[in-house]
Symmetry: C2
Subunit: 482 residues, 2 copies
């Protein structure tokens, strides 16, 4: 816990300065702090609990679909990173290099992993011999390092925590199926747990992962109108299996290169949920991933320690036994009003108030963090009442975000329109695109917007490329992005 | 899964060559594999599941005692590592250094954390202002790197996974209390979950953590007569709080340096359980931390796929629904006998056999991995029967290890006796010690044995130092160690 003074300080209003609000709220709510190393953050217990809830739920989804966890080394020899040409080109500029170990200069310098394809593929080439060894469905939870020039807590940090799945399959079809299965898990997780609506789809070649045949992503719209890439699933085809010689004897007794995927989400998801759901008073954390789903604030008038506190303690036990993540704020150094602001700032979805009058009536007051709506509930029904209020808050948060996205999705058929939209409100912009990297680059140059995903089907009325006017092969979503 | 050939190969007999048996069984059971970087291992899914079970159970014990998880950066500036004099002296020779990030030479090189006191203390000095902020009870699960010259999978690797707790307290008494509370959690966990009896106690100054006031450890005896330090809990006193300026206003409104602890266990615990419980046929994994507690092998004679397999599948569902970690080995490319050997090698505590005759009788056969004892149980009672067999195996493993330790604990009152014991059978050796580093060093020189822990009370008959013959302040346990 920080000092009292930190809490009393106001955070910047979200409606006034979104970017400052974001860093203020992270610091004041003790989600994270800056470390002495530029671009590296410390994830504090309150922020880490959000990550633990993300981890445990995603981990279960991975295991339910047959994946197992493993752990591969932090360091990758430079020569391994160079084996896949596009891969090294994409990552080399961001690598931190170890050149001294145990007081001796190393013969070959070691990359601190920016991602683990190179080291994992070198092991797979030893382990995989036959189609009977496939599929290999391995995931790892790990830290990775990418030397970033501009950083922001959770969104882009030099070191971050993530999971990276690495699978190998017998056929191109199974490989594509896995890529999409994971994309779908990411979408489901973002929407059902983080209450963040996402658009999923293919990336253009310019935006895909270094070394992949194709990259799929989930993209969310932030309140400042910028897109955030929240997870990626790559079909690596045989690019890495050729570079690392991962071959298996297929069912026809012929040697064949394995078909691979890789996929990941990171602590960036915590940044996404902070941005999407907060308000001027601070954070709002969706109940499914909230470290505290409810906080009990006893109304501390008169001899409250004898009268109210024992009832609040009973309530605490009831909620805890009911499986609710709850905290009883029984500190006597703060007023109830101060506590209300503090827990609102920390984004606890429901505040439970209990005072002498409530006790007389056998009730408690539930306060919804989104709109401060109060409901008076019978103490005996409180676990059920809270559970249904959590459900409501969870779905209201999702619906609010979805409404915002819909209101901020434009359809533009020319570059001029798109430039105007970006200047006015940003948001997602649906347009026709001929498929050429040249036209894509022109949009980036003129509007600093990139293709976030390619739509599965063409939208009606978007049959021309917004730049060159030629026939549009595809309709795409443009946006400025984090 | 490896190729078929790997499994058929014999592992070295444990009774013939313990050290080769250890590395053989790790490789063949697919617990871990060597990576291309010297001294760094890959933890494969089967080994990682053991670690996940260790993690989840320990994590719950930490949380039940009020600790929370957080995450601190991987890199530590060299100047921070140097702030505590003994600390840097102890760790500098083992550090891997990053000197290039993002293609640029860094102004100050960064240590890849060998342990995180330095970075965590620098944050604590920002966070802690008042006694109201205490205690701080934070743990982190992380990877650390120590450049080791001689490595062995799980026991000593250049990178390893661990947890490191870092706490700050108001008083010296609370600090010591925390140090011992954690030591006790480690002892309980090692004995109740890993079925490894441990001796816990204080380290001598020569063996304590670099920067600590005192170090406590749990020590286990391995089958080759060497001791393994399996966990440490350090009372740091005010050494780090002075070096990093962690000061708080105490209840008398005076500034005071915080009282700190740190403590950790690592993937070394996996190595310990492999060594303690295996036999000539391979691993034996205690049921509480076994990725698979039972494996069902259908007896595949005649038209078994029509007759036996459906019953085996029913059995599988029953066990799975009963909360048992179970696998049904229904492969038709292997004989039952081959499968028996394979799962014995992998250390699954109970094999469940089911064949045509068993089905007629409504029974299944449970085979105890320790002694291959068979029991014939009614299918309807199988969940209860298995659960009680798991309990028996768990406690038999502990008792066997305890018996071994007792048989290999000697009492020696002179250096000559100790040298003879070390030459003959090694083991734990209880002796009197005057408390001088000089006598301790002589034992190390003559017998390559070190003080593993200092006993709380003097043992009868050990009132003289085994080296100098002066009055023994303490009785201690000597051993050769990993």
């Amino acid at each position: 816990m920080g000092t009292d003074k930190d809490f009393i300080k106001q955070i910047t209003k979200r409606s006034e300065d979104f970017s400052r609000w974001y860093t203020d709220v992270i610091k004041r709510a003790e989600l994270a702090d800056y470390s002495p190393m530029k671009g590296m953050m410390v994830i504090r217990p309150y922020g880490f609990e959000v990550w633990e809830l993300i981890q445990s739920n995603l981990d279960r989804m991975f295991k339910d679909t047959g994946h197992k966890n493993a752990y591969f080394p932090l360091f990758i020899p430079e020569s391994f990173l160079k084996k896949e040409a596009e891969h090294v080109e994409g990552f080399a500029p961001e690598v931190a290099w170890v050149s001294v170990g145990g007081e001796e200069e190393l013969e070959e310098r070691l990359a601190v992993r920016p991602t683990s394809e190179a080291i994992i593929c070198s092991m797979y080439s030893k382990w995989i011999k036959s189609w009977r060894d496939l599929p290999v469905l391995i995931n790892q939870w790990a830290n990775v390092v990418r030397w970033e020039k501009v950083t922001r807590p959770f969104l882009r940090t030099t070191e971050f925590l993530w999971q990276e799945g690495h699978t190998v399959h017998e056929t191109a079809e199974e490989c594509e199926e896995e890529t999409l299965k994971i994309l779908n898990i990411y979408k489901t997780f973002a929407e059902d747990y983080l209450a963040i609506p996402v658009i999923s789809g293919l990336k253009s070649d310019a935006e895909k992962f270094a070394g992949a045949v194709s990259t799929y992503a989930i993209e969310a719209l932030m309140p400042d109108g910028k897109a955030l890439q929240a997870g990626t699933s790559h079909n690596l085809g045989q690019n890495f299996s050729r570079a690392f010689n991962i071959r298996f004897e297929n069912r026809e007794q012929k040697l064949e290169y394995g078909w691979q995927t890789s996929w990941g989400v990171s602590t960036r998801l915590v940044g996404a949920l902070i941005m999407v759901h907060g308000d001027d008073s601070g954070l709002i954390i969706p109940p499914k991933v909230a470290p505290l789903q409810a906080v009990i604030v006893p109304i501390s008038r008169g001899n409250w320690k004898e009268t109210v506190l024992p009832e609040a303690e009973k309530l605490f036990s009831t909620l805890k036994n009911g499986g609710i993540r709850v905290y009883l704020d029984d500190r006597d150094t703060f007023t109830p009003g101060w506590k209300f602001s503090e827990w609102e700032m920390r984004g606890v979805p429901v505040r439970v108030e209990i005072g002498p009058k409530d006790i007389e009536k056998g009730q408690a007051v539930l306060v919804n963090r989104i709109n401060r709506e109060k409901s008076f509930v019978n103490i005996e029904d409180i676990v059920e009442e809270l559970s249904s209020l959590f459900k409501k808050i969870q779905s209201d948060l999702f619906n609010n975000a979805l409404k915002f996205r819909e209101e901020n999705t434009s359809i533009n058929s020319t570059l001029e329109e798109l430039v105007a939209t970006i200047e006015k409100q940003r948001g997602f912009i649906r347009s026709g695109w001929c498929g050429s990297e040249k036209c894509e680059a022109i949009v980036k140059e003129k509007a600093a917007a990139t293709i976030r995903v390619i739509d599965k089907k063409k939208s009606a009325g978007l049959d021309k490329c917004l730049v060159c006017g030629k026939e549009a092969e595809k309709s795409v979503i443009f946006a400025k992005s984090y």
